[in-house]
């Protein structure tokens, strides 16, 4: 019987080869393209400097909207897609640890989301830097923290939404509610409530490791930040916690499919 690592690898590899040409993948591509397209438009036709475009679009559009949305679209499908397609019977009638279905498919989703977010972040910075408005050059103090936060955010959010797919029947609705109602509300409340959100830790990483230009972005100027190391550890703990909880649940849960 294949162990956890072997079956996770098999499921990861198969899912990775299958997911690129799905409708879901096209939706993700469109989402990922939104920030670079916006950066190009503003740089070409607006008055803002490259730094202003990169930091504002990087935070307000990419990290606050596109990262959670991309993670939601692909993360919530990790288990739900097999249920909706009614193919989970085949996987759950094989002698594999059930958690490998979650982990293998989540790793494929993670690689997919990370690739899109990396390209999207770097393209946003690159296109923003083409602005003709006079100002400082868009340097690594803008690009690197944005890339780090996007990749970390994609990983943590996709783990949360993959877990939602194991716990809830409609993870997309739950995920939308969480990402934009709960997080959106808490992340903008003054005080330590912000520390209950993923956004707070992403902002901490960007705010403490990035250039001073990030402090000019709406939402950064009054924030207190955790150190980057502390934020990183917290995000990794959240990620592991949700994957562990979802693995525990999927091992015990039955999925009732209709004919």
């Amino acid at each position: 019987m294949p162990g956890l690592a072997t079956s996770t690898w098999l499921l990861f590899r198969t899912q990775l080869s299958r997911m690129w040409w799905s409708r879901r993948a096209l939706a993700c591509l469109a989402l990922a393209a939104a920030a670079p397209v916006m950066a190009w438009l503003v740089a070409a036709f607006g008055q803002a400097t490259g730094v202003e475009i990169a930091t504002n679009l990087g935070w307000l559009l990419l990290l606050q909207v596109i990262v959670p949305l991309l993670a939601l679209v692909s993360g919530s499908a990790v288990v739900t897609e097999e249920i909706e397609d009614r193919t989970i019977s085949y996987l759950f009638s094989r002698p594999i640890p059930r958690a490998s279905v979650l982990l293998g498919r989540w790793l494929a989703a993670l690689l997919f989301v990370s690739t899109l977010l990396a390209v999207s972040s770097l393209a946003t910075v690159l296109l923003a830097s083409r602005s003709a408005a006079p100002g400082a050059a868009v340097g690594s103090g803008i690009a690197v923290p944005l890339l780090e936060a996007a990749l970390l955010g994609g990983a943590v959010y996709s783990a949360i939404f993959a877990a939602a797919g194991v716990f809830f029947r409609h993870p997309m609705i739950v995920g939308l509610g969480y990402a934009f109602a709960i997080e959106g509300f808490l992340a903008n409340l003054p005080g330590r409530n912000q520390a209950l959100t993923v956004q707070y830790y992403l902002r901490s990483i960007v705010g403490t490791t990035g250039s001073d230009a990030w402090r000019e972005v709406e939402g950064f100027e009054l924030s207190r930040f955790d150190s980057a190391a502390s934020a990183l550890v917290t995000l990794l703990v959240v990620l592991v916690f949700f994957l562990a909880a979802a693995s525990w649940r999927i091992t015990r849960r039955e999925f009732v499919l209709g004919a």
């Binding site: 019987m1 294949p2 098999l10 759950f92 009638s93 002698p95």
Partner: protein
Amino acid sequence: MTALLAARDLARWYGPVVGLVDVSLELEPGVIGLLGPNGAGKSTFLKLVAGEIRPSRGTIEVLGRNPFANRAHFAETGFVPQQDALYNDMSGRDFVAFLLRLSGHSAREARDRAAQALERVGLADAMFRPTRGYSRGMRQRTKIAQAIAHTPKLLVADEPLAGLDPIARRGIVELMLELARDGTSILVSSHVLHEVEELTHNVLLLHRGRVLAQGQVPEIRALLSRHPRKVEIRARDARALARAVLDLPGVGSLRISADGTSLGVETHDLEGFLAALPRTAAAVRAGIRSLETPDAGLEAVFEYLVS
């Protein structure tokens, strides 16, 4: 000999809907047909046996094990689910090979076994095409191939002959008989008696979530023959036809509609009645326009049995 399957007070419900209730039985290895009308609880029973769902109450053991989420059970069991679902972007060969890899076979062995299983179900020519282009029958055969490719001790098949044309159906029946001869136990469901009869005489009758009877097909046939069957006939002159069919074999009661154009007949010998009817109707120039046997399905027989 270890029982193939043992259930004690087995019950399963889905919210307020009862799928199976108070099932206690033991089945010996072999081929067992699960027979019952739609909604009888066949799929629920098979999902419990396959380990896809767990009982709401009671216990079930398959080959001495609790099947739910049991990896040792899955290694020895092949499951043909009822739903028409495959990985549509994969070829039949890749789909079966992928599942074989998950059963622990090496890549090469999985490819070889997948090809062999697909050849056995008659899909040798189509195995490299994406399954999205398969017909209903081909998809059904792919489902069977993935269930037999790892040579299971027990094959659990939920309506495996549904959607197959007569030739493919014959092929699958022969394949299952061959598997049975090789020592594979098979639990197969259907709502069509003659389908099951081709595979085995050992049947389990389910109705409304309960086991109604467990026995041999001839006993079921006997029950069927005792059940009066209805025939609805529309004819130009139903009254003349009614007078003529009174003497036909097995006719128990007659009912003529008020306008004299339709006739309801109850008979204990449906085949004899239908064989004699054309000549009888022609003799009295009744002018038959249509003929229906509304209770020909198992549902009616089961209703009769429980009443």
